[in-house]
């Protein structure tokens, strides 16, 4: 069954039509990258998928559970309680991390599982330690976010999303706020997650990385999906002129 599906989404800010009838479906274990020029609506698409933004039109389905549906030509959302439950289906990694600065690394990881998911603290702490170890941060559990480099903060934020056991993880340009020499760490973490068949949708400007890590790439421009296909094909043999010219800018 599909983990995630968004059908015919439309989104307008004022009179700026940002998303024009886009549909995306993601199967378990899929790694999908979304690329496209600045302002094409990639972040807006992720924000609608993660309920940070409301759609004007379109449907939203997680693991077969429809939490937003069409009624009289408009999107209607499930009641708040149901939406909160639906949030456990997904995680989101932000461009600028958004860690909680007043919580230690350990608390950043453990607070939500304990106070939102009501899980046993000792079990959560053990899982947090294992995750931190995997991220190469085993000595940082007592550190506060400001004491970490950008790359380390981003790894903590990925761990914070993972510990909730989401069935799909969204990334919005996870390396864009990082110094170039730190992006490699994050890309490696994501690659490792892909190897473990984590279902992911990644908005990124790292074309090489998208080609290597993803099964599928979606190229967006001006609020529509211009081209979509197997990652290597799309990067090596783009069919559409706009895709070609967009990718051309990266081949230097």
């Amino acid at each position: 069954m599909e983990v995630f599906r968004i059908n015919n989404i439309k989104k307008t800010f004022g009179d700026n039509e940002v998303l024009k009838n886009i549909s995306v479906a993601v199967e378990p274990g899929d790694v999908v990258s979304v690329i496209g020029p600045s302002g094409s609506g990639k972040s807006t698409l992720l924000r609608c998928a993660t309920l940070l933004e409301t759609m004007d039109e379109g449907e939203l389905i997680y693991n077969g559970n429809k939490i937003a549906y069409m009624e009289n030509g408009k999107t209607v959302y499930a009641p708040p309680g149901e939406l909160r439950k639906a949030r456990s289906n997904f995680g989101l990694v932000f461009q600028n991390f958004n860690l909680f600065p007043h919580f230690s690394v350990m608390r950043n990881l453990c607070d939500a599982p304990v106070s939102v998911q009501k899980r046993e603290k000792s079990e959560v702490v053990a899982e947090a330690r294992a995750l931190l170890k995997k991220m190469g941060l085993e000595d940082k559990e007592d550190a506060y976010p400001y004491q970490l480099s950008g790359g380390q903060q981003q790894r903590v934020s990925i761990a914070r999303a993972l510990i909730m056991n989401p069935s799909i993880l969204f990334f919005d340009e996870p390396t864009s706020a990082l110094d170039p020499e730190l992006t490699g760490d994050i890309l490696k973490v994501i690659r490792d997650m892909a190897a473990e068949h984590m279902t992911m949708v990644i908005v990124t400007h790292e074309i090489e990385f998208a080609k290597n890590v993803s099964d599928r790439i979606i190229f967006m421009a001006d609020g529509v999906i211009v081209e979509e296909g197997p990652a290597v094909d799309l990067v090596n043999n783009p069919k559409n002129e706009r895709t070609k010219s967009f990718l051309g800018k990266f081949q230097r």
Partner: protein, 216 residues
């Protein structure tokens, strides 16, 4: 009258000053938070009402507000005012006034919080209440501590305004003593007491700031 006696009476007055100070903080901080919620509410009439409240209480003298609270029951409702109502009136006046200032401080702190903190909490499934009390409010406190310290120090000095409706706090006592003794000594002593009081307040606030400096 010996210096010792003067000090004794001033200290009794200081007790009342401390009471005004403590009770004002105790009630005006939570009330200020509630007023700031109203001030940021989506409900337009409530927001407007709180805006007017803040504007009036910040825009008129505290002494005048004390008069209104103290004499209001008599002039408006024809109720006899008992002397025991004096201190209560002072506390009510101070609480209403300081809540207005604190409300604006809370509001500025809450509005300065980055949107990303709310969004991260929302995606993790925190309820609105959890988000506010676990994520937002602790960070707001750290941000607003310096202006809160300022207001608190002003409050120490403002307690002397209670003399205007004859509550026997330290300044009222000092004034009476000075008149009776034809001496500046009571004023000088009271000044020192206020200074020490504020020194302690500033020290305590600094300690709190230090305790919250474990993160940035």
């Amino acid at each position: 009258m010996t210096l010792e006696l003067i000090l004794q009476q001033l200290l009794a007055g200081l007790g009342t000053s401390l009471k005004i100070f403590g009770l004002t903080l105790l009630f005006s901080l939570p009330l200020g938070l509630l007023v700031s919620f109203g001030r940021m509410s989506k409900i337009t009439p409530l927001r407007g009402l709180m805006k007017v409240y803040i504007s009036i209480l910040r825009g008129t003298p505290l002494m005048l507000q004390l008069f209104v609270v103290y004499f209001g029951p008599y002039y408006i409702f024809g109720k006899q005012i008992t002397p025991s109502y004096r201190l209560t009136a002072v506390i009510i006046g101070f609480v209403l006034n300081y809540a207005a200032y604190f409300a604006e401080i809370f509001r500025s702190g809450i509005e300065s919080m980055p949107q990303g903190q709310y969004e991260a909490a929302e995606v993790l499934g925190y309820t609105k209440r959890q988000t506010f009390f676990k994520i937002i409010f602790p960070q707001v406190i750290k941000r607003i501590l310096p202006p809160i310290t300022n207001e608190t120090i002003t409050l120490v000095k403002d307690t002397s305004l209670a003399f205007s409706i004859a509550v026997a706090e330290m300044f009222t006592v000092a004034k009476a003593l000075a008149a009776a003794q034809r001496s500046m000594v009571p004023f000088a002593a009271a000044g020192i007491f206020y200074y020490v009081f504020n020194f302690v307040v500033a020290f305590a606030m600094e300690r709190i700031e230090k305790r919250l400096s474990y993160y940035k």
